[in-house]
Symmetry: C2
Subunit: 412 residues, 2 copies
């Protein structure tokens, strides 16, 4: 059996991740590699840390990627903080809240949850009251929940956690680079970002940042692995249990991302190149400008969807800018429409999970995919597919509504 | 603070990993991405599985990459097999044996070790006797130990493990794609490969393969995470403890790498492209031809090193083909030579760890870095740096000796 050269179709990717990668990031990926301890490479690592601090809007020293997909970032942070029996409060408003519960439980946490209906978010006061009742070590919460297209306000929760000396861990995988994530202002102690969403870098890395409150716990659990530990390392008096995972041990990872350059893993060179270029483009565009761009294209998409006669799903006051959830009209087979979009138009949109499966489509407008031609393509194609599937829509209205928005402003 | 475009120096990388990446793999990295459930992408995933089976020389169904660096592969396999209290025997003959111990201990194993001096390997009989004495659930061992440049013969150990119903887990990170790794013939139950060594793909993925004996344990611990578990999943009767890590849970990972396409993580698209191209090039070259190429260039390198008057380190009968360890001559500052090689010639070679730190250099001849011009460059530059540092060497002999080898055969 022999294998042909890689030959992929061209797609317009309008899911809530992974999304299209900026061609400049793709080019950076093809840069020849450097050794992990080459000073030219460690300088690039330092630059990535500084860029991440800016994107996370933090003065934290620690800001670096975990070599794994987004959930690896969540697991690195949570496994490095949680000791068996630790209380963690997880407010759940979609699938990725369940994932946080899952990770916490696997590391032996005593997990308390509160739920709200999918499509809504929590009143901050509800979370704060529960936090005071449970007195957890950690509140772990999702910022942008792609499964429902909602965004949880965090500022009040963060301030309350800080006042009660509770750690706030935030999954900002879907929001970082697309909407405001104010790590320091919102009193987030540890934050996890994703690459394949609003940063428009391929999946495979999870940038994280954490402050001294988190570092203190990590240092209390520090254990340098056999085979490379020095006598100093072995004399170190640990006051708590070592971290359960070797790969996700933030104590060793931060020694690797510091002048000590402790040889933990071999850094994923090409992905670091891609992340650096992705972050550079975000900073070149400007955070405020980038957030405004996401807002603007969201408006065009929403206008088109509504003009077509379709309904948006979920609480409009807490919509996640970069994910638009659309109710599948009664009688329409949602998967047939998605399949036709892909096969006839080369456009990918997403379904959802659990209680929303078969009820909504999710259209992402993230990073490099968040462009005028993509918004117009998806609106035009969706209308055609719906008509073809026998659905009633207002013909020809969607693109006119979106074009109206685009003509109203000089943003591209 | 603004950041310039990525601009990296050109290096000749002659370490035991990461090594230079084939330009065709670099090009594959820059392919625009596909969505993870796009049929065009899942077809690529299936191809990667088939290619991995061929490279691992196995009929195992399960063969796929873990999205993380090499040690993520070791941790995925060991954490999915080990329940607290399980006995694991780890024979240690270098740094990466210690890493296996470390991972096993963190997951609660009752670890038994045997040691042999760094630079040697175990007589298979010694391991087998210990295995019979300890009666472990698992023997975990490194195949190619880059820290010492040795290779452990596994065939007898594998057969003995199978006869005693002990699982054999092998770290073949450094050997896969450069020397023979006969997963099935040697009765290896789970094998972990590396990308950034003899496969010449960037770091960031760890291909693994395992058989039905391993799968049986994984299924006995199966737990599909909250938020995506179906009623069938929740009715599933687990006979053992769930796997401690969510990210490394092979039960969910194999559901992702199967027609079910369970939405665990978001596959690292660009790295899958790179891995596919790297594996394609290995299979196009042919496994036997590739192993012969590594042997041939090793011979040229060794001839040159010896002709210069330098001594090889370690037991010559069990040398790892793709890593050549050279004793640093008395009075020579090994780090000064390495630094001069990098700064003046753009060539990177490696030092070593623990008891060998400061005593040996390690020169890798792996994958795409294993080429005539690289071998000749490193020999010529090493001689010049040694002379410059005041060491006594046989001037002009190294390159002549290597050229003699190259002229003796028509292999390039």
């Amino acid at each position: 059996m022999s294998f042909a050269e890689l030959n992929t179709p061209k797609r317009t990717i309008m899911t809530p991740g992974p999304v299209e990668v900026d061609p400049r990031v793709l080019r950076a990926l093809s840069t020849p590699i450097l050794g992990q301890f080459d000073p030219a490479f460690t300088e690039i690592m330092n630059e990535v840390m500084e860029m991440l601090r800016q994107v996370f809007q933090t003065k934290n020293h620690w800001a670096f990627p975990i070599d794994g997909t987004s959930r690896a970032g969540n697991e690195a942070v949570l496994s490095s903080l949680i000791e068996p029996g630790d209380k963690v409060l997880v407010p759940i408003y979609g699938r990725f809240g369940h994932l946080l519960v899952e990770i916490c439980e696997r590391y032996g946490a005593d997990v308390h949850t509160i739920d709200c209906p999918w499509g809504e978010v929590f009143d901050s006061e509800v979370v704060i009251v529960e936090m005071k009742k449970v007195s957890p070590k950690i509140v772990a919460i999702v910022h942008g929940e792609t499964s429902t297209g909602r965004m949880q306000p965090l500022e009040q929760i963060g301030k309350a956690c800080r006042a009660q000396d509770v750690l706030l861990v935030v999954d900002a995988v879907a929001s970082i680079g697309g909407v405001e994530v104010k790590t320091d202002d919102w009193c987030i102690d540890a934050v996890v970002g994703g690459t394949q969403k609003c940063l428009s870098v391929p999946s495979g890395m999870a940038p994280i940042s954490y402050n001294e409150r988190v570092e203190k716990i990590i240092l209390s659990r520090k254990k340098v692995e056999r085979g490379i530990a020095t006598e100093d390392d072995n004399r170190y008096m640990r006051s708590s249990l070592p971290i359960a995972s070797n790969y996700f041990d933030l104590g060793m990872l931060q020694d690797y991302w510091s002048p000590r350059r402790l040889n933990h893993h071999t850094e994923a060179t090409s992905m670091v190149y891609a992340l650096r270029e992705g972050l550079r483009l975000v900073l070149e565009e400007g955070l405020d400008e980038r957030f405004a761009r996401h807002k603007f294209h969201e408006q065009a998409l929403i206008s088109g969807i509504e003009a077509m006669g379709l309904k948006l799903f979920g609480d409009p006051d807490n919509k996640l800018t970069c994910v638009t959830c659309v109710e599948i009209p009664p009688g329409v087979d949602g998967e047939a429409v998605r399949s036709m979009l892909l096969q006839e138009f080369g456009i990918e949109i997403a379904s959802s999970f659990g209680p929303l499966h078969g009820k909504i489509w999710r259209i992402g407008t993230m990073g490099y995919s968040c462009r005028k031609e993509n918004i117009l393509s998806v609106l035009g194609a969706l209308e055609a597919c719906l008509i073809r599937q026998g659905a009633k829509v207002n013909r020809g209205e969607a693109l006119q509504a979106a074009l109206d928005i685009y003509e109203s402003k000089e943003v591209s």
